[in-house]
Symmetry: C2
Subunit: 260 residues, 2 copies
């Protein structure tokens, strides 16, 4: 029996006209029907933000022939919600792909990332969802080596399906790192941002602060996403939205929780 | 030996002048030195967003006598970063409390919540962190029954300390629900938002969309936060920032990850 053509929702956080989403749309078109809903401006580091104090707009855009595409004035998660509950009238796509992000989303960056938050939102809706990120911030980054990664992971997800509860966070080393050695299923590394603020004065003498930070991993495990990408592998981290620290429940139950 | 007075960082997402943060500051003042950095406007549902395309400002504000307080033009997570890396010059507070949020942050709402994202950011910094949410959206909500909850959980955290890796998500039923029965350590319920968009036309005839949604839990467990608050208990969920679906790694390792 012929498989029905899957409906694929594509989004990102760099904006609908970024090269990364174009690459992703091009790779999805041979696989099914493609619907694109993506922010009308860069929405990096917007995390799982949604718009509740303002209205949302959708505008049709020309992106890649064969794909129906819209820009949205909201966040990446807003885009997912609008696609499902406005454009598709509550119907769920068969697959959601987000990216290709211009920049890494390894380790704890999954929490800040609009790209990954869109994929997590997809998972919450029960949609097999994948976020792709290239470890190169340049808007002109070469994406050719990313294409076989997109094809491989997407084919696996369409073939095997995915259990409810998680999505995939895929990070690809930049081309300049050398040929990709392979792909590794990983856990999120324990890492942190050592932040810093650069303080300047505006023309009236009032201070303002620019956030700068340095990403630091002190996790020596070879099963982490940080290790994988530093060693020439694509990292694949299954990423869930149950944030319960289940292992801590027993400890917390030894405390006296008394309402005095 | 006398304990050194703890340094307590207070933030929220409803804004520095919301009644909820005032309640929290009042309860922290007898416990230590209080520093408040909170948004200058409502930042609900901002998730773990940070500001990377704009600068940040801090302005001293009069909030509660005895507390040093600042408003910030950024998100709740920005506030935490500015407090640590600008105002405290990299020193970590001994405790971070966020809230009291005007509205529930149970189940998956932890991902959308600015209140909880600030607490999660605290946990990422290794600070014992707690988010408090009252299940009442009214800005005039009665907070008296919340005070003993704040005192109990805070005392426990200061007494026992907390392991690295998670913070606490505390939700308190509204006063009208009746007397609190007790407090329960819970897991995050499996639930979802059934979203809907109300489409209107602006005076030029162009469509715009308002997000509306209905929260739906299909999780019948009696160990969830949803069950607890519906049954008159305060829910306490340990909430971690490792989003790895560790249980899925073995399954994903049965797939053929081939770069074709």
């Amino acid at each position: 029996m012929a498989k029905k053509s899957p409906l694929i929702l594509v989004t990102n956080d760099d904006g609908v006209f970024s090269p990364g989403i174009r690459t992703l749309v091009e790779e999805m078109l041979p696989l099914g029907t493609v619907l694109v809903v993506a922010p009308d401006k860069p929405q990096s580091a917007m995390g799982h933000a949604i718009t509740i104090h303002n209205f949302l707009r959708l505008a049709p855009v020309d992106l890649v022939p064969g794909a129906e595409a819209y820009s949205c004035n909201g966040t990446p998660v807003d885009c997912v919600k609008l696609a499902i509950y406005k454009l598709l009238d509550g119907a769920k796509p068969d697959l959601l792909v987000s990216g290709v992000n211009h920049g890494a989303n390894i380790s704890i960056n999954v929490l800040y990332s609009g790209t990954m938050s869109a994929a997590v939102e997809g998972a919450m809706e029960g949609i097999p969802s994948i976020g792709f990120s290239l470890m190169d911030h340049s808007i002109e980054a070469d994406m050719e080596h990313v294409r076989p990664v997109i094809r491989s992971v997407t084919a696996n997800v369409l073939d095997h399906g995915m259990e409810f509860g998680y999505c995939l966070n895929v990070n690809i080393p930049r081309k300049e790192h050398g040929p990709l050695i392979g792909m590794r299923v990983c856990r999120q590394a324990r890492a942190n941002w050592e932040d810093e603020f650069e303080t300047r004065k505006d023309p009236t003498g009032k201070e303002y602060h620019w956030m700068k930070g340095e990403f630091r991993s002190d996790d020596h495990g070879q099963d982490t996403d940080v290790w994988a990408v530093q060693n020439g592998y694509v990292s694949i981290v299954p990423t869930q939205f149950d944030m319960t620290a289940h292992h801590a429940i027993a400890t917390l139950n030894t405390w006296d929780h008394v309402l005095g």
